[in-house]
């Protein structure tokens, strides 16, 4: 899974190169989006987004709106404004993990 530690198949440096290449090839950074903006919004993701601090929610909304505008006008951002691999923070990850943990706990209890 992208974002995990060493793969076992490739050495650390090679793995990093492959990840950067895959990131740039996927193209969402050309619309100024971050990885977590592109997650499919199922119930867990929706709840995680609800829990984001206001600032992070606003930034996310801005990026998504800008990307939608670019998409409908068949444009991409100038190269200087593309999201880089290093600045792309997985901001939703801790919240999403917490939501998933809570759902697992509820499932455990309902089994009893």
């Amino acid at each position: 899974m992208v974002g995990e530690g060493n793969s076992g198949l490739l050495s650390g440096g090679a793995m990093q190169w492959l990840r950067r290449w895959a990131y740039n090839a996927s193209g969402f950074n050309k619309l100024g989006l971050w990885h977590d903006d592109c997650l499919y919004e199922d119930d867990e993701v929706k709840e995680a987004v609800r829990r984001l601090p206001e600032r992070l929610q606003d930034d996310r909304t801005f990026r998504i709106t800008r990307a939608m505008q670019l998409s409908l006008s068949h444009q991409i951002l100038p190269r200087e404004q593309w999201t880089t691999f290093d600045e792309d923070i997985r901001y939703l990850k801790p919240y999403l993990e917490e939501v998933r943990k809570e759902n697992r706990e509820k499932a455990e209890w309902s089994k009893k």
Binding site: R50, R51, P53, E102, E105, K106, W109
Partner: protein, 443 residues
């Protein structure tokens, strides 16, 4: 005919004799375990531990912290009210859901209550489950995390609580505000309506960081072994520190809230002594003499004030609010709007001019002792009393000490106290339909 037969002595005496014969056998072949006396320990870090092994199948443990509403700052006013509401939400070890289900599964309960001085987290459960429940209590009381979204989700509950505050509670809050003005003991236990918006995780955390300290905490229990409780208290992670000191200044004043309706509620009080003062027992006796509540359900108030009020067509009771450094002693009156003026005049006259006799004081002593014993008998109020004493005074006294102090009260003490109180500056709060209610300077 059949019924006449039943009434004849012969037929009735047969079963009666049999039951009597059965009752003659020895009733107890096992020893009855006595209720043990109070045991207290003060840990090196300052936590006071107190327990009574009352041999009950139900254990109760409480963590009391000297962090009531009097220690709120202007920036976090209302924090204790919100803390009470969020007591069962996610903490460092349990989610809100998990905590609730775990407690339900064990048949336990967790509660948080607070007054002006002390914030108490308490839990009770059957003895065999108490160890798990104590862990959950420690997490809820000392390892809060305050998730922002949970606080936001529960804000409507706070708003509902504030808006459905009973008139009697508001009256007493107003009295404290009038007496102690806008800080310390004047801080209401109910969050101010206009400040609900500013309450959030930061305010809660700041209140706890100022007051949840080892030197301000007491751990009390009933139905639990003292060594177990000491070990439990040692395991609590509490920071060191002094925290804010009590700084109440009695000013005196008046607060009238006209809301119409058919009833007027009035409270009048003078400054009283603190919990550890020599006059505390005398105050309790005075309150009992003046009349604190009815003995018989739905009965008219008793005592000097109750009788005066009943004659004028209303109800009155003596008020004795005791805090660690000061207090309020006075009376509360409830009457229909038309009669309120007369009732208050009558009660005020009785309050100020009643001459106390030895019989009055003996009656007061008996009532006060009964009240102390009644509170001690109920394990819930027993734990609460221990918690309040331990957290606010740093030591817990046994009931026998309180009874001895009441016994030592003399008629002259109570008379001196009474004279001093009625001569002091009074505070007044009134709520309801106040068209006949006199002002403080008219009393």
């Amino acid at each position: 005919m059949a019924s006449k037969l039943m009434k004849s002595n012969i037929l009735r005496s047969l079963p009666a004799r049999r039951f009597a014969a059965q009752a003659a056998t020895k009733s107890s072949d096992y020893g009855v375990l006595p209720r043990e006396p109070l045991k207290t320990t003060t840990l090196p870090n300052g936590v006071v531990v107190a327990s009574i092994e009352n041999q009950s199948p139900l254990s109760r443990v409480a963590i009391a912290v000297r962090g009531g509403s009097r220690y709120e700052t202007p920036e976090n006013r209302g924090a204790t009210h919100l803390l009470r509401i969020v007591a069962g939400l996610t903490n460092a070890e349990n989610t809100a859901f998990g905590l609730t289900r775990e407690l339900q599964q064990l048949g336990a309960s967790l509660a948080c209550s607070a007054d002006r001085e002390v914030l108490i987290y308490s839990a009770d459960a059957t003895r065999n489950h108490m160890d798990v429940v104590m862990e959950l209590l420690a997490n809820a009381a000392t390892r809060q995390v305050f998730k922002p979204w949970e606080i936001t989700d529960i804000k409507p509950h706070l708003k509902l609580d504030v808006e459905t505050t009973p008139a009697e509670v508001s009256l007493i809050e107003d009295l404290h505000l009038a007496a102690f003005r806008q800080s310390d003991l004047g801080n209401s236990v109910v969050a101010p309506h206009h400040l609900i918006g500013q309450l959030g995780p930061d305010q809660l955390a700041s209140h706890l960081s100022r007051t949840l300290l080892a030197g301000r905490t007491a751990v009390c229990g009933t139905g639990i072994d003292h060594e177990t409780l000491v070990e439990y208290a040692q395991g609590l992670q509490l920071p060191q520190g002094e925290g804010p000191a009590p700084a109440a200044r009695y000013g005196g004043g008046e607060l009238r809230t006209e809301i119409g309706g058919g009833v007027a509620l009035v409270a009048v009080a003078a400054e009283g002594a603190g919990r550890s003062a020599a006059t505390a027992a005398q105050q309790a006796v005075l309150q009992a003499v003046l009349g604190a509540g009815a003995v018989v359900k739905y009965g008219a108030g008793r005592g000097v004030l109750g009788a005066a009020a009943a004659q004028a067509g209303g109800a009155a009771a003596a008020l004795n609010a005791v805090y660690s450094d000061t207090g309020l002693v006075g009376y509360t009156v409830a009457a229909e709007a038309d009669k309120a003026g007369q009732v208050i005049e009558a009660v005020n006259k009785a309050f100020k001019t009643t001459s106390l006799t030895a019989e009055d004081v003996n009656r007061g002593k008996a009532l006060a002792k009964a009240a102390v014993l009644r509170a001690d008998d109920n394990s819930g109020s027993c734990v609460e009393t221990m918690g309040v004493q331990g957290a606010s005074l740093g030591k817990v006294s046994a009931v026998t000490d309180a009874l001895a102090a009441i016994d030592a009260v003399k008629l002259s003490d109570v008379q001196t106290l009474h004279k001093r109180l009625v001569g002091g500056k009074l505070s007044m709060a009134a709520r309801g339909n106040l068209r006949t209610v006199p002002y403080l300077d008219q009393l």
